[in-house]
Subunit: 478 residues, 2 copies
Amino acid sequence: MKRYEQVVQTLAQRIEQGVYRVGDRLPSIRALCREQGVSVSTAQEAYRRLEEAGFAEARPRSGYYVLPRTTPSVLPKVSRPAQRPLDVSQWDQVLELVRGTPGEDEMLMLGRGIPDLGAATLRPLQRLLATLHRRVDARGLNYDSLAGSRELRQQVARQATTSGCLLHPDDVLITTGCQEALSLSLRTLTAPGEVVAVDSPSFYGTMQILKAQGLKALEIPTDPQIGISLEALELALEQWPVRAIQVTPTCNNPLGYTMPEPRKQALVALAQRFDVAIIEDDIYGDLAFTTPRPRTIKSFDDEGRVLLCSSFSKTLVPGLRVGWMAPGRYRDQAMHMKYVSTGASATLPQQAVAEFIAHGYYERHLHEMNRQYQRHRDILLGWVERYFPAGTGVSYPQGGFLLWLELPGGIDCVRLNDRLARERLHIAPGSLFSASGKYRHCLRLNYAAPLTASIEAAVQRVGETVMAMQEEQAALVS
Amino acid sequence: MKRYEQVVQTLAQRIEQGVYRVGDRLPSIRALCREQGVSVSTAQEAYRRLEEAGFAEARPRSGYYVLPRTTPSVLPKVSRPAQRPLDVSQWDQVLELVRGTPGEDEMLMLGRGIPDLGAATLRPLQRLLATLHRRVDARGLNYDSLAGSRELRQQVARQATTSGCLLHPDDVLITTGCQEALSLSLRTLTAPGEVVAVDSPSFYGTMQILKAQGLKALEIPTDPQIGISLEALELALEQWPVRAIQVTPTCNNPLGYTMPEPRKQALVALAQRFDVAIIEDDIYGDLAFTTPRPRTIKSFDDEGRVLLCSSFSKTLVPGLRVGWMAPGRYRDQAMHMKYVSTGASATLPQQAVAEFIAHGYYERHLHEMNRQYQRHRDILLGWVERYFPAGTGVSYPQGGFLLWLELPGGIDCVRLNDRLARERLHIAPGSLFSASGKYRHCLRLNYAAPLTASIEAAVQRVGETVMAMQEEQAALVS
């Protein structure tokens, strides 16, 4: 056995024994040389082989990380929604998910879209907020200007260059969270009874806007790796009077895919051909695992027909409620909608976020978070593989901190939640993400915060409960 | 001449010579005794006579204050709006008023609805905010619960008892400013094309909601002392399919009146008879000059048909965007609308306001502000009398910090604003407060912040400009 093969074997054994677990960083080349008494080239060769064998992956400027033992063998299926305009339901389930603060009733919410709020790189934000609130007297708590603070709009415009967007600060409108941006967009573009095409599954917050405004959702088949089917969308645009296309093309919620750039470009062309507006939800876009981050659809739009919506709720903290939109040619109407919706947004949080970006803290925070989230994705994939029944479909997120599971054998995740409630656990059932409650056999999990032993135990319990339900079903059938 | 008569004469002379000016506090009884070498009963008698003669007024537990020389002789007329459902216009003028932060472009905004942000009694709020932001780490910046923080809802419910309202914390929904509360109310109650009855003149923010939602405004004649005409409203309810009645019955914006309680009660009875909901904007209600503050319409409602809307933007500071509503029987729909509009409201500002109220700071602040605003009202009334043409109608606010002027001779306040812009002055033209731009000959002034010499000079310039425009008109006619 060659020297490097011995090293490979040692490392592989340690991984199998759980000394290094999924997502852990393996020893550096230097450390490995020291520990095993081998040369740098031998250590390098060992890692290359380990990588080839699918045990580990190299991450630029960081090192080698333990991969889930197999890449997920089953992806969720391409969705096949109804493809006719539907009224939106499911509010009760959404309400259950968002009613309380997590921890308030000691329910462990495994499915909510909340980032890791314990990150060290968020500390400068707290410092900035505390300093601002100490420094600024009540006069600084006047109404801000309606479009939002100029400093923040400037920073947002600068930051948008990383997604290929050239925005002027005046193109940006600060909102009270991304939810308001999406809401204003839909109110700007549509009237009750009209039809909006959406990717499917689709963020429940947007679906509920459709419901509240009496709009109809036209759910378009969506591929878990490349996003909304342009072919199906084209057919739908020919068939139905679609007023707007609503998509989350980058680090999609809940599926985690990023649409390939050529498809983003083709989507803009399609919208042009049918003269329809696009609402682009980019709230997770800055959390992509690649550098530079993927381009937005907006970056391919030279007609101002894309309304780009985002916020700092997933990249920083949700409780500041600082969001923004770049509404393109619809700016004037969006501004009116913003005025009647909430007036100017809160003053000091805007300043704090602007300074956080200006000082470079935002970039550093993103860098750390994206490494963490990628690591966590791999760990959670490992757990799902270990604890969920064979045949469970799993997404392979390109960014963000949300995993989508498709359970085999028609397990109902609303019923699953009822069972989990006894153990104070809660997952986001897939039915939230459909106008008519499809995807009941799917669920969303969050891997943002540190994946502690108690989270692992909770994931394991979910998996066990699913398997118990499968067995009960099987018993009923036989 | 009796001793007390000499004292009266001395004080009257000083007032006429401007030693004491309108709104100033006169010497205390004790100080007057010392200064004039008279007994307490003589000093008391002197003040009684001064009061009778209309020079001063006594304020409980405070002292004697100089009154404007005559009470305003001309009140604004009872409004006579169109009384048929109208589409709302005037957005451009509203945008001009709210686009920028005051001071940003060094324009002196004399007409905006902004409280005195320099008040010493606001300092504990800043302290609380600074402490909270220092103490709470990023985990405290998670999404709050959708209905809002329980502590704040508790405080709001307790505070509401001062207006005769018995609310449970669960009856309260925290919003992002009163504007969101009003917006959610209208979205909860109406669909595009429907008719909403409003007092007239009416807050432009509400009018613009009607515009944004494609609603029609049915403007009801309104008396500058007792509010919306119930007689005219009854006729309107018989004639038109009114979906909601929107009023600001306490410390009305812009007219300053408070509807007498029997009329509030009668309004509820009318709404019951026609089975229509009432949206009650109470944003200035806590700023009434009487103790206890007037009752809300909501306090007479035992069917849950009144949606009470308010915020801390006028009583504390606007830039926190903390508002609330008590939507009565419409709570579930309002909650859904809240979710789709902005999700949960920002977390820490709610906590800060809750603690501010709990510690008794709010009550103290209101007490101080209401004394200040009442004093300022009298001063501004004096200036209007001095600097504006004879025949100018002036409101007599019962609370809040806004004065309404009705100019004689058909002066156009939009044109007036154009002229004032050259001197970096801006008033709120009356046309903002009407669906179709009526009240162009009216304007709103703010007397919240200290009425400095430069504010006096500005008010004088507005009056002079009005008179110059009158003369030009007269020259054209002759």
